[in-house]
Symmetry: C2
Subunit: 344 residues, 2 copies
DNA sequence: TTGAAAGCGATACCAG
DNA sequence: CTGGTATCGCTTTCAA
């Protein structure tokens, strides 16, 4: 970081301590109770207009901001929905889904908080989340244990929802079985007459949650056919791709399913540079249906994913919070369908 | 969302109310104070080993998890670092930077929370952040006002750091002036003999924070030369790119700087499909130095960005928290340098 | 219509 | 070494 001090503004004025509702009350010449009534528009109690004005005026003057912790401590609950922040760089697909979800939950008056639990292991992380006493917890990507769910529930979470490959006892599950993705791709390749299928797996271990099921899906697709599957580990790196391409002919593969479109692009480029014809010599198919696939030549075949809409998930959460039902439910929400373009 | 209920597990056992330290004390047969001492390993006080064990045992049995709000209410401060969650899909560059930052702050024992403030306007959002009484606030992307900083400071934030184009009174600033990015690109194109430069601007208004300064940078680069700049608004969409390419010859441009490598790829593809030679007829340069640029043919020239390391920012935050200095400081932290490949 | 006071859960002082 | 207890900021009965 280049450190070039550029400005040196004068200090902010003396640090008065943080104003409380008591300060507001004092300044307005009323009791703390009245302040609370006015600021929360409590309908059960009617406050005279002049008093309201004085309170508002005082609050503004002091720059009063209520203390969320104190409030929810008193109330015994919050409207915080907690999600662990993903610790692996996550694609545009997920980002968009998440934004939508956040917006939808905001509309329902929940506050969404992404909690960075880097470095914490499993149930340790769960305890950290539980300390915040969120009303609901959304956990993407597997790894939550039934014990973890129990901790969250005991700490007051009215809804625990997992978004991942399998459902966890006690939690609602949005099943996103990426096995389907691989299965679609595999089926497509086999139907196209391919028999020796390579599957490109990211070396990045953080992506295994998705890549392994995708691989399994391909395996299932070729099961009972005379086709075979070869696992190919690959770093997201030009050099690694070139090395893979160099030994491609010796591998004797006639098709490759890449973890996603980005890896597909990487592999496709390397194969083309090696003089391997696509789809003639080797068919290539990716996944996630990213824009870039459409821009490649030949156009990249891919598996299009359908994620649940943020609005629907938000409603599920809201329902679960309002009436925690006896039985948790699991929904299969991942749609996968092949988009056949030119590379396969 | 396809809703296929798949499992229907039995309800979790009766909802006992959330266990408190008092419950632990009762079960262990000690006072609440003792529980606190044991669970926090308070060194000022020595507790007998048998008592410690009884307390730990009781806590485990009840599944006790401390209440963060109560704790920080009592303590008068928290170690929460708050960042508003970006509401526009943000690239891999930012994601990586953010992960690093999160990790580094975690090492320093801070808890990073991304707060979803979708739908809230300016100072309304600031008040929402202030309610959480974070010890530090990191605000990316401009839009924070001096008043906003004052609200945060008054609510107890010991450090307010902006990451954006300009510095704000009262806050530390990590200046990331994207004007430099455009300037590098523009200078490069002009030096290469290009005279009629198109600048591709995303239609997505959320990206204006970055795209406008980049455009200005190009303008500054051509200033005083005989080159000219043409602004080209473009949706991230194949059709839009094709339309742009169709009227390309009539535009009479001999170079284009795209907002980033993704837009560059989009434009380059459309131009190539239109039979326009790159870099012969038109030079193309992108920005952000994404992997995909290296995979294009011709290889995409780009502007490589150097962001501050997460570790350094974390240390800046920590310093600011520990000793809020009289003067806030501003650092220029965005490095930009052209990576000349084949497309320009 | 307003005020006094209890209490949410955890901590740290001060006695015992 | 351990236990009472005041306290953080806020909401909400209950009285006045």
């Amino acid at each position: 970081m280049v450190q070039i001090p550029k400005t040196s503004a004068p200090s902010s004025p003396a640090q008065h301590s943080v104003p409380t509702s008591a300060d507001v009350a004092r300044l307005a010449g009323v009791s703390r109770a009245t302040v609370s009534y006015v600021l929360n528009n409590t309908s059960a109690v009617r406050i005279s207009e002049p008093t309201r004005r004085r309170v508002h005026q005082a609050a503004k003057e002091l720059g009063y901001v209520p203390h969320a912790a104190a409030r929810s401590l008193r109330a015994g609950h919050s409207r915080m929905v907690l999600m662990p922040a993903p610790d692996v760089p996550v694609g545009p697909l997920y980002s968009q889904f998440f934004n939508e979800l956040q917006w939808a939950l905001g509309r329902l008056d929940y506050t969404v908080v992404q909690y960075g639990s880097v470095g914490l292991q499993g149930d340790e992380a769960v305890r950290a989340w539980a300390e915040l006493r969120p009303v609901a917890v959304l956990v993407p990507g597997g790894g939550l244990t039934p014990d973890g769910v129990a901790v969250l529930k005991r700490s007051g979470a009215r809804a625990v929802v997992t978004l991942g490959p399998d459902s966890v006892e006690g939690a609602h599950a949005l099943l996103m079985d990426h096995e389907r993705v691989g299965h679609s791709a595999g089926t497509h390749l086999v139907a196209g007459g391919r028999r020796r299928i390579g599957v490109v797996m990211p070396q990045d271990t953080g992506l295994e949650v998705y890549s392994k099921p995708r691989l399994e899906g391909v395996r299932r697709a070729v099961d009972g056919t005379d086709a075979s599957v070869t696992e190919l580990s690959l770093a997201y790196d030009e050099g690694a791709a070139a090395q893979l391409a160099a030994r491609w002919r010796s591998l004797g593969l006639d098709a490759v399913f890449a973890y996603n479109d980005e890896y597909a692009m990487l592999v496709m480029r390397a194969l083309q540079d090696e003089g391997i014809g696509i789809p003639g010599d080797t068919a290539v198919i990716g996944a996630d249906d990213l824009m870039l696939g459409r821009l490649l030549r030949p156009r990249l075949s891919t598996v299009h994913l359908e994620l649940p809409s943020g609005r629907e998930l938000a409603e599920l959460v809201d329902r679960a919070v309002r009436e925690p039902v006896a039985a948790t439910q699991a929904y299969e929400v991942l749609g996968a369908r092949v988009v056949h373009r030119e590379s396969s």
